[in-house]
Symmetry: C2
Subunit: 203 residues, 2 copies
């Protein structure tokens, strides 16, 4: 309960309707919003400041759906470290060139591309400059996943629901994907290294 007061103070939740100077009314929409905030913080790992940004983007009224989706995507994608290895930036540009994306993004401009470059930069710094080899396969897998995401989002009725489903699907999807990818790793590791059953328990 004190946490709710805190979120109200931070502007993450809209104030309730004051029925009297000391009585505010909160409806289901408030509860829904609260749970969304908790999901963003707990599962999405977003900071309070990021959540505020996301909600602001979600609540924007006057914009095309595509643009709004883009803005929300930026808000839910926090950039990595500030200083990038120029070689990593080049890796990203080459990757974009390979897939005809070079005209749509400026690597240093968007949070998403910055995230990608920061990750490859980090890989380079620990001696894994060949990690970029996996990029094409990642995109191939990501396309399948994104297709499912889009299909899921397309089930929503209102465009407000589309936006919210996009936020939830992207952030919770990140975690789901993390877990599923690890399951796939374990499956492959089992297939490759395990001589028989019995030593595949994770503990």
């Amino acid at each position: 309960m004190p946490t709710i007061k805190y979120y109200l103070r931070e502007g993450l939740l809209p104030a309730g309707v004051l029925t009297s100077p000391n009585q505010a009314h909160y409806d289901d929409e408030h509860l829904r919003r609260l749970r969304l905030v908790r999901a963003l913080v707990d599962v999405g790992g977003l900071s309070i400041a990021s959540v505020r940004e996301v909600l602001a983007a979600v609540d924007t009224r006057d914009d095309s759906l595509h643009n709004k989706l883009g803005k929300v995507q930026e808000a839910i994608s926090q950039p990595g470290s500030a200083d990038l290895d120029p070689l990593a930036v080049k890796d990203v540009q080459e990757f974009f060139g390979r897939h005809g994306e070079d005209e749509c993004y400026d690597v240093t401009q968007s949070n998403v591309t910055h995230m990608l470059a920061a990750a490859l930069s980090a890989a380079r710094s620990v001696g894994h400059d060949h990690f970029r080899q996996v990029l094409d396969a990642y995109l191939e897998g990501a396309k399948i996943i994104a297709q499912a995401d889009v299909e899921y989002i397309a089930q929503q009725r209102s465009s407000d629901d589309v936006i919210e489903a996009m936020v939830v699907g992207t952030l919770i999807g990140d975690t789901v994907l993390k877990a599923v990818r690890r399951l796939a790793h374990a499956q492959l590791s089992r297939a490759m290294f395990s001589d028989g059953p019995g030593d595949a328990t994770p503990n």
Copy 2:
């Protein structure tokens, strides 16, 4: 430099060889380890405590490679919130049943399955109980991605390098995948909603 001292204190870096009471020697291995720690913290988003755990698992000597990989995977997979929606647990079990994984994992036992259940639980709590629809497609995409990961890891020479590549590839790969998935989202959104060029810039 003060940070290095801090990491030494916290046991994240091995102490240097004391050539004299006030002079310690650090070699390339120390530097490599330091960069690994930085990558885990900065890109992987791991806490200092988690990094310590991961390094302990990495430095374990007496274990089969497969088991060691399993232990390291647990260490780099922090579980979600403690209380899970039982329905979400059932979702995960059904998912496992569908893919013949039901014998290999106890949902509440492993960090990875817990992560998955926590994410689906969060989805349910915000009214997206149908998000589990995407699971099968996620696995399909994840298999392609995991295949690339395994191929990358298999390039390593020593089994120590395999373990390290697995840590780096998994954690940095998480971020890379996050970014690539968002790119795929944008691509699809562009294809679906954009009437023409010009409004596809993220800013």
